[in-house]
């Protein structure tokens, strides 16, 4: 059979192509363009090669920011995952309290990032904020704007408040999907509460936990708005995460070259995480059925 040739089909692709070009390709290529050139103003550009990339990878500032990012992600994961599991385990499985709990859990997730930042910024102030005022009156010298530990503690607390719900909801979904027969069988087998958790609930939550872990890792790795609103990266550079640093460089100092190089490196990292996320996701729940012997 002859293949019909009809190049008019290309017209159908044009809208999508235009959209992708405007939304993704052109901006990214602009950044790539900046990252390999230098400018002294006047809209004159000179070829700079890999200079900016070398600079970024050698700069202490970059590694410090990356370190802060990783530390932040690690801390919130260590807190949010176990806490989320614990809360999900205590939530009712049926009855009128289920919707109440679910709505309460979903509430923090519905609040926009910058609002969360603002809420905690006010909440933590020692003159008008409940948290700051209370802590100060209890004799603690709490000030997130001047104390590094206080700033970190506040940001972590804020993130835990904002995002533990996500882990809870995912774990809860995993838990309610366990058929009643498992619990009955465990009862008959004489399993302890811990054994039920260890051998039934935890394995059955494995899939959703991987999703929760990766989502929270990726999201916290890209954190920007909340610390920006709360501390603006301070005190000093102590809460300057990569994204905040990037904005400082690009918009504050107008160092387009280094900023572009840094954002590309940053993007590469996020892409890598996304790739891992995607790969793991598509393998979750796929039970390898081996040894299916037909006899």
């Amino acid at each position: 059979m002859d293949k019909p040739y009809n190049n008019r089909a290309w017209f159908l692709v044009i809208p999508v192509f235009l959209l992708v070009a405007i939304s993704a390709i052109i901006p990214i290529m602009t950044v790539v363009n900046y990252s390999v050139q230098d400018t002294f103003g006047n809209n004159q550009f000179f070829w700079a090669g890999t200079e900016w990339f070398e600079d970024v990878l050698r700069s202490e500032r970059f590694w410090d920011a990356l370190g802060r990012n990783l530390m932040f992600s690690a801390i919130i994961l260590i807190i949010e995952i176990p806490l989320g599991i614990a809360i999900a385990l205590t939530m009712p499985k049926k009855g009128i309290w289920v919707p109440v709990c679910l709505v309460l859990m979903a509430l923090p997730l519905l609040i926009p990032w910058n609002v969360v930042g603002t809420i905690w910024q006010i909440f933590g102030r020692s003159d008008i904020g409940l948290l700051g005022y209370t802590l100060d009156n209890l004799g603690m010298d709490y000030n997130y704007a001047s104390d590094v530990f206080d700033a970190w503690a506040t940001i972590i607390l804020m993130d835990v408040w904002h995002w533990t719900s996500l882990v809870v909801l995912l774990c809860y979904a995993g838990l309610v999907s366990i058929p009643e027969a498992y619990y009955q069988a465990a009862k008959i087998d004489g399993a302890s509460k811990w054994a039920v958790f260890r051998f039934i609930q935890l394995p059955k939550m494995r899939g959703v936990l991987i999703i929760a872990f990766l989502l929270r890792f990726m999201d916290s790795f890209m954190i920007y708005t909340e610390p920006f609103v709360l501390t603006g990266g301070g005190p000093g550079n102590s809460t300057t995460f990569m994204s905040i640093d990037l904005v400082k460089q690009a918009v504050g100092q107008f160092d387009l070259g280094p900023a572009a190089a840094m954002s590309l490196v940053y993007q590469l990292m996020v892409l890598t995480v996304c790739y891992v996320f995607f790969t793991v996701m598509s393998n979750v729940g796929v039970d390898k059925v081996d040894g299916r012997v037909e006899d």
């Binding site: 058929p179 027969a181 009955q184 069988a185 008959i188 087998d189 004489g190 399993a191 051998f199 040894g291």
Partner: protein, 357 residues
């Protein structure tokens, strides 16, 4: 191993049941013999799973007592009753190997280590899982998983009874037969009291020595497969067991004759019935189809050929009636039916009436 006594047992899911209809399980009094193989048979929602859960201890009955070997266990937890249960869907511990799965109930009961490995090895042999013993249980097929669920009960030598809750539902048809044979074999080998819940009559009749037929929360008949076939105690039993089920025709009875519409049918015995709601029951296997005037004329609505025999769907004075035609027998042009007189059962208010009674 134990005998199980149900002493005036009844259960309602409502907190304050008033009428009979509030009970998911109506009062039942029965004793299950030690080492017997029983089946609980009935359609969905007839209360058979409720009864099973009461025996296993997952549910506390609202009335009556349950006894193992004469000892009251009504309020004991499942783990204290020492029973095993196999569920509809295979329950295995995903992260453990087959061996660890089988050892789990023993570890929980703090059985000494070498005793555990001895019993587990034995069980692996009984279940034919030797080549898969050290594999993760999650990768196995449904029937193998179901064997593991069974094995977890059997490794405890002293289980009082093994309960099966429709264990073959998710098993491939060609494996069902094998697994059922395995169950029978294990029953013969180990002699546990086994109670098997199902809505599949073939499974019930082939597995059990005695079948308990349930209908709307009530035990309507307990008997051997033969008894259920020959003398169904309730029209429901006649209808539910056998394929196709028993023909049930509303009729009037006077002495030893029954009349369906304008047709009179001779009975083997005289029956004394008050005449509330009387019916005739006759299995399609004992309805003979012939040509001509020699019988009761019927109209034929359809014929289903199912291989070794045909089912003739006929109509007798407005009532549907099925007959079985052997292979090679032709459907007559002007059909008439004859009933085998000895095989006719009489029902009053759906319950069997004994002759002369």
């Amino acid at each position: 191993m134990a005998s199980i006594t149900l002493d005036k047992l009844a259960h309602s899911y409502l907190s304050n049941p008033k009428t009979d209809a509030d009970f998911a399980l109506k009062e039942i009094d029965y004793e299950w013999q030690d080492g017997g193989a029983y089946a609980l048979l009935g359609p969905s929602g007839c209360g058979k799973t409720t009864l099973l859960n009461i025996i296993s201890g997952l549910l506390v009955p609202s009335k009556g007592q349950i006894k193992f070997n004469g000892q009251d266990v009504t309020h004991l937890q499942p783990e204290e009753r020492n029973i095993a249960q196999v569920f509809q869907f295979p329950v295995i511990y995903d992260t453990m190997t087959v061996r660890q799965n089988l050892a789990f109930p023993l570890i929980n009961r703090r059985v000494p280590k070498d005793e555990i490995s001895k019993r587990v090895n034995e069980m692996i042999k009984v279940l034919d899982l030797s080549d898969k013993a050290d594999r993760k249980a999650r990768g196995l097929t449904a029937d193998e998983k179901q064997k593991i669920s069974l094995g977890r009960g059997l490794v405890r030598y002293d289980v009082n009874a093994i309960l099966f809750d429709e264990p073959l539902t998710v098993i491939d048809p060609h494996m069902k037969w094998q697994l059922r044979t395995k169950l029978k074999e294990i029953h013969r080998q180990l002699g546990h009291t086994m109670i098997y819940v199902t809505h599949d009559q073939t499974e019930a009749l082939t597995f059990a020595d005695k079948v308990v037929v349930m209908y709307e929360g009530e035990v309507v008949q307990i008997g051997t497969p033969e008894e259920l076939f020959d003398k169904p105690a309730h029209t429901f039993v006649g209808y539910f067991i056998g394929s196709p089920g028993m023909n049930v025709l509303p009729c009037r009875i006077a002495g030893s004759t029954a009349s369906v519409g304008n047709t009179t049918i001779e009975l083997a015995h005289a029956y004394n019935v008050s005449g509330a709601k009387t019916e005739l029951g006759i299995r399609p296997e004992f309805v003979y189809l012939s040509a001509g005037k020699n019988g009761i004329p019927v109209r034929i609505d359809g014929v289903e050929n199912i291989g070794r025999f045909k089912i003739v769907r006929a109509n007798l004075e407005g009532h549907a009636i099925n007959a079985v035609l052997r292979e090679g027998e032709a459907v007559p042009a002007d059909p008439a039916v004859k009933f085998e007189t000895k095989r006719i059962n009489v029902y009053e208010n759906s319950h069997l009436v004994r002759a002369g009674g």
